[in-house]
Symmetry: D4
Subunit: 147 residues, 8 copies
């Protein structure tokens, strides 16, 4: 079995790259997917369909275009990893976790200890909480192992 | 038809009371539900089952006890209102919105204009964005009207 | 058993009233529901949340507010009646029929013979095609009868 | 990931060919599917099973044979594009959009600005509204991109 | 809890009446539902919508009108009893059993021993096989009992 | 797209072979599946697990072993063909049709005209009624065609 | 909202009575349901349909009759409490917990500390682990409280 | 069709190896999956995320990490084999059987005759009960056979 792992959340550090490199080093049978992680491309996704004066509608159009991608990738994943960094609101990461919970998709959270309390509901529905990408690599290695 | 409306999010202002009072003034056929909104009671919900030294597990236990309630109330609601205040992370509110989206439950967001951008994914899957409880009352009045 | 019957489509003739009157005359155990059928109220439903300059977004906001109501009513109905009149596009009626088909809700179409051909896909997934409200009353009377 | 994109609606212009050519030019990993788009073949699909005197039943038989195909293709698609031209009723396109909405399949509408108002419910449940096939190509290119 | 019990199959003997009388004698909290069991009314249900020359289409129209009723009643039942008599094909009873199996609705078959072999697939997915209405009454009495 | 077509019903004539040969002649992208069609093997499937004195339980054991196969094949098919011959009860065929209907799987019935009336409920939920294997081949050829 | 709480597992101590008495003392809006807890009645449930020589089939018949009841009660519950005593295999309790987990029903386990290790998978999918009926009463009181 | 068969339960005898060897000897198109069957590795799976003082939480963490794997494998299997040995509680095996039952996955139990009575509910929802791995091989050979 090949595993589809969806990577959600923070786009300002290289945790996705660390995770992928770690899994490749172990030759794990995993395909990683993600939202478009280029911040500007993501914010302007809706501009393809025409410019908007009103910033709410510009955001709305872009959010919906991005959701075409993320909705399908989450529905097709076997496991998700949801990353919360030490900056920004990252409500989209918590939103993705809620989708996973309702769809019965197991997910792993990745965040530092100082935000354990505000993330307690998100962690409560998670299957594991990791603090480093290395831990996530080890978990995935264990989960997808043969026999 | 009686409507079940789940109220998610911020617990530090009286928006729930305003909403209920507004709907009662119009005698709308709505039953409101919510997580337990007493902050201390919610944080210590798991203590019923024994004290924990480790704060992660204390939070975890409480989060899961709270989820017995919130999971069922969300699954049984017809509409949700998800409120984001101007303080705190409120990741649980975004998590609830994600659950609603995945379950096909329509929801209305309630927040001020200055957090439109970080909430664009949550608003993108919402059916309406309101900035005041009065607007939500008007929307609900329209939605549940006869004929 | 009480039956919930959702009435979708044309709002410019009194077919809903005829249907209700006919069912009341037979004292059938049916609760009828509908979208808001006041045209102006429906078009301006989103204005509650603030005016829009752009007509696409005005329509969009109103359509979503209306969908809070219609989505739940369709999900909760036992049977739907979908009416196509001799004027207007009525794409929302065909959209509702598609929702019913995908959700496994039986529906009855109500339209004159001259639009049989363009409605063949909608009729193909319907359980019955009627040409008069009286026929729908008779069908419902038969369907909800005791024993 | 390969993406399955279902193309619904208008069969009298070459928008499907433009869309496919545009996506092929970018070598996008997309498989396109459609109803049978030959008008006469589609109308006579049921004749395989014997001729009908009554035109309603001839349409009915053909509609159901066509639905064997379209029902499965819609259930198996990742994204749909629903096209409304400037002629004909095209109720089947709106019906397909309703199916997609109820099944949680994201869809993009493709139509000119002058029919925005009658399509507001269909657009309200869509993830994007485009006015040209080129825009749809750009959206799909963005949605299916790597990383 | 009140139990909804759907009674499917044979309409030429009084097994439904025996079953209801037996359950009433024990004052069991059961609501019984059924297809319309008047043979002529059932066969002519579609005639409400106009006469048909072709007997296949006459049957088809009536079958679909009847299905509005039976589909909803089966989806809403807690248990079904499926009766096979010693005459007639009764394919509709086997069809109802297949619906119940796929929907996860427990059902009880009621038939004599001499048709055990041809009914083995239908019995294989059933929760019980009874040979007399009295046995079904006893099973239901046991199943719906308090505490 | 490759299509999975499940062949249910009569095992005493060679309709399955005719159907397969016809589809192969057209090189249709179809994989056919079926219950085990060797009558004796099917009846004795449960004997692997030990002999039974009681014929009801022998049938029951075999029926459940067979259902491991048929349940999965039906859940994985895109279309089913359900054949009723002119002999035998064939309740298992009607049961399979009921499963398909409840699961939203389109199916085609194959039977002669003289049993139209007792099969009206089964035909009512079908997408097509054919009288010869050749017609089914033509329908499948049409349904799975490119573009 | 009234809550349906299903009580699964051990039938040799009076934990169900303690739980009910505790909840009644607090006047909690809870309806409790259970399998038939009379051991002999449960074991002989299938005898209604005729005696069996073979003890496997006697157990099988009774198990399926009991499942008519338990399957529906579990599907209709809001929360389950699953009790493991210090004797017996109690595989049916673990089976019920698996059903709850797959159906998305929150459940609370009730067992002493010395069987924590063999119950780790069952506890892992639970929302809470209690060691006394009093704790379960407190949890339920918290979960079903107003506002 | 390739079949996915999930092997649940006892890890202290070599029944999995016997089963695989038997199926390989017949060149059956089956992929076998399992939880991690190394007892120590399974118990310490959560230690990757940090050590725990409290044995309940150590077990809890490991159980949830293991569930990432088992939940997905069960959701993706076509058939499960659930083995109960003559020692240990094996509540996880009964839990897996409950998941399969609720998800509609057919499963075969494998256990000796002396535990038939306590396993009656688990066997009652199974499709077959075998006492030796050889019997399971024969059943699978029959189930996955061509034509």
């Amino acid at each position: 079995m090949n595993w589809n792992v969806y990577l959600s959340g923070e786009i300002h550090t290289d945790w996705r790259d660390q995770l992928k490199a770690g899994c490749e080093a172990h030759e794990l049978p995993i395909t990683f997917t993600s939202a478009v992680t280029n911040h500007d491309a993501s914010d302007s996704a809706g501009d393809i369909l025409g410019a908007e004066d009103n910033s709410f509608w510009r955001d709305h159009k872009s959010a919906k275009v991005n959701a075409i991608r993320t909705k399908q990738l989450i529905q097709n994943c076997d496991v998700a990893v949801v990353r919360f960094g030490d900056k920004y609101k990252q409500w989209n990461a918590a939103f993705d976790a809620g989708c996973c919970a309702a769809l019965g998709k197991p997910y792993i959270t990745l965040h530092s200890e100082d935000i354990v309390h505000p993330l307690k509901e998100v962690d409560g529905a998670a299957m594991a909480w990791a603090t480093t990408p290395e831990q996530v690599v080890e978990i995935l290695k264990y989960v997808v192992s043969q026999g």
